[in-house]
Amino acid sequence: MDFDFEARTIIEALRSGIPSRAVGKYFAQARPRVLADIEHDITMVGKTGQSSGKIISGKYGEGKTHLLNTIFNYAHDNNMVVSMISLSKETPFNKLYDIYRKLMANTYLPGKKQPGFIHVFQEKLTLNSNISSNMLLYCLERLDTDRLFFLLKDYIHTNDMDEKALLQSDLEGDFIPNTMVKSIYFRVFNQRAKFKVNFVKSRHYQDYYYLMSNLFKNLGYDGWVILFDETELLGRLGNKTRMDAYRNMGRFLFPADSLESVYTLFAISSSYVEDVIEGKKDNAVIDKYFSETPEVYLKVIEKIKEADQLSPLTEDEMRSILSKIVLFHFKSYDWHTEVDMNDFYDKVSAGGYLLRSKIRAAIEYLDILYQYRMKSHITINKIDSTIFEKEFSDE
């Protein structure tokens, strides 16, 4: 049987309702404006080196994750490093030093299907290489602390594999004690390393983000795209920790100059404003706990409220998607039949309000037609999507 593998991958992913990069590539085009804006921003980040961030919001099943996957592909195609994580209980956004470790573990270099970048360090950060000297200079001039200067210097000069591995794991987010950085420095250079500022990870972790943003540029990539999915899970955090998370979002949305060529995108549920910002009275929390610096938090909350919405697709957009699905289904299983597109549209639109349900109904319709060569009545049951609301109200 002749079949088109890419089309089959898309149909399989759509049938399962799972986020897929292959799907993202084709179907986010249904939202040309949002996509064009983001692509423009990413291109500007690559060209100017100026970092920026954005929030997109949408209902469950409206295609937020698919959009992130599209951006993932776009960034890779444009020679950018991509890190993508979903926020969760285990990935709390109030602790950016923990987030750093997760991000590093989910960092993909262009053209790579597996995450990981340390092997590139091993090849490029060698004694007397230009990259090494640039990085050391950067650490001295641009970072808040000089720990990373000593750490990188240790890394470049040590011949001890154990030490190298320890330093590598530190760069990946498993921070080693300051004393260890100093003792390696003493062993390698026979001099004492004196930190100008005592490095505390909970206070100075940003240096690691700055370093990585600069390092990726130095390694020849055009920038670093960071994608955060399921941002609405911030709603699970307590009042104060949620505010910490807002402050941290601000670091990406309104980045400092030291963060170079980084584009950050947060995907958040559209119910967040009602469920959390209003439901949990975020403004009152700010007044109560952070009355001296409310603007830091208010700016982020405002940005969430103004986030670009992935609105439900128009009839034209939906019809365009359905035509593509029909075409992909035919290519997937090397078959063809006449499909009355008006009848098809009516059947798919009859039940369910989520894009996910409509797409699954479309695939089911074609599946049955393919297997039995006849139409079948399709019912779309209501999907239980009350998960987030339930969890928010539990707190």
Binding site: M161, I368, H377
Partner: protein, 400 residues
């Protein structure tokens, strides 16, 4: 090789049955997935459920046998034997059944072929390098070529984890004799890959790589790499069947693998991560088998972990059975596919296979109709009712 079509249990005997409804799904998977999508680089997770004796295990075994025949490296295990809450246990079991050494040998044979030789000509106990030396061809160029092929196959492979790739490259190099590893180093690599307790990963640093311990955080990545190793060893891919996942809600299970609430949730989380990540896998098919209780039990079952249930549940239902469905409910399948004639045939097969115990009587058309109605009314598995009717217990129950 005789093809096992299906089985049902009669006492302790396993009776092969033909023309079972799940055959049709396995045949369908065979055509659409095992011979087309997965070998071409696709990945898929399927779930098989149903009531007691609806043929779940037999379907999983049958699909595994089909996958083996289609050139897959197959793995089958019961969730009653292996913890599922931490994916590293799943990975280690898959790796054990995949026989890593065997895969490395297949890989080195492929490299030998690429260099224009046949591994069958290499005397037992000799490496490829020994063989080249005996042919006066053990020169720097040939050795460089081996290293290049190893690098391309492993280290530059974009689908493999870097540490996993280096480990395989070293093992494969050792198998070829270029470069030869110290026995202790080889043991260390295996100890790391198989997660041996008490093993220090730092002991691998002298070999030039610094892996982190295989944990629940990186085990899926290791499995992706193993899948790629299977592919470059000449397999069509990896087929993994995990049966008895309903052990998670089995209150009566006081065995070694008793799931607490925390471990149950960790298991659901781990399956969710696998579902979300499946698009990043190539050449792999997972099939999970479980009793309907895993869906129906609202307190402990899949529905108790919304994030997973949201992904598995399919809100779309049609009158006809969709053989592409990710969740195959064997009871629904049976009621949509079995005809009275098929039930009579099943009963006759059963009669010809029962050798001792109760004297079986094949069912007639009336009884077949009754069974279909009973199954619809009581939600009981059709093969179970056929067995009961054929062996008399259904009649006895009805008379009572």
């Amino acid at each position: 090789m005789d093809r096992i079509k299906d089985i049902i249990m009669v006492g302790n005997d396993i009776i092969p049955m033909q023309n079972n409804s799940s055959d049709r799904i396995v045949d369908f998977w065979n055509a659409r997935y095992l011979h087309e999508f997965i070998p071409a680089g696709g990945s898929k997770i399927k779930f098989v459920t149903g009531l007691e004796e609806s043929g779940k295990t037999s379907m999983l075994r049958q699909a595994t046998a089909e996958a083996k025949e289609a050139g897959f490296l197959t793995v089958f295990f019961s969730a009653r034997d292996i913890w599922l809450y931490d994916f590293k246990f799943v990975f280690f079991e898959i790796l054990r059944q995949a026989r890593l050494e065997h895969l490395i040998i297949r890989c080195s044979d492929a490299i030998i072929r690429q260099m224009g030789f046949d591994s069958a000509n290499i005397p037992t106990g000799k490496t490829f390098i020994d063989f080249l030396a005996s042919e006066n061809r053990n020169d720097a160029l040939e050795r460089l070529e081996i290293r290049n092929l190893l690098r391309k196959r492993f280290k530059e492979n974009p689908v493999m984890d870097n540490s996993f790739a280096i480990a395989c490259s070293l093992l494969c190099g050792d198998c070829l004799g270029q470069p030869k590893l110290e026995p202790e180093s080889k043991e260390h690599i295996f100890a790391w890959l198989t997660g041996q307790k008490g093993f220090r990963v730092t002991s691998l640093r002298p070999l030039g790589f610094s892996p982190v311990r295989i944990s629940k955080f990186n085990a899926r990545r290791m499995l992706m790499s193993l899948c790629e190793l299977a592919r470059i060893s000449g397999y069509a891919g990896l087929f993994i069947a995990i049966d008895d996942v309903d052990v998670l809600v089995d209150k009566a299970n006081y065995g070694l693998l008793h799931y607490t609430k925390m471990r149950r949730e960790d298991t659901y989380e781990s399956i969710r991560e696998l579902v979300d990540d499946i698009d990043n896998f190539n050449n792999i098919m997972f099939v999970f088998g479980f009793d309907r209780s895993l869906i129906d039990d609202e307190k402990m079952g899949l529905k108790s972990y919304q994030a997973l249930w949201m992904r598995i549940q399919n809100e779309v239902v049609s009158e006809r059975f969709n053989k592409f469905a990710d969740v195959i409910d064997l009871n629904r399948l049976a009621s949509s596919m079995y005809t009275p004639e098929m039930l009579i045939e099943l009963s006759q097969q059963l009669c010809s296979n029962v050798k001792e115990g109760k004297i079986p009587v094949p069912i007639n058309a009336d009884m077949a109709e009754q069974i279909l109605t009973l199954s619809r009314l009581n939600g009981k598995s059709i093969p179970l009712l056929v067995r009961q009717a054929t062996l008399g217990s259904l009649m006895e129950k009805q008379e009572q």
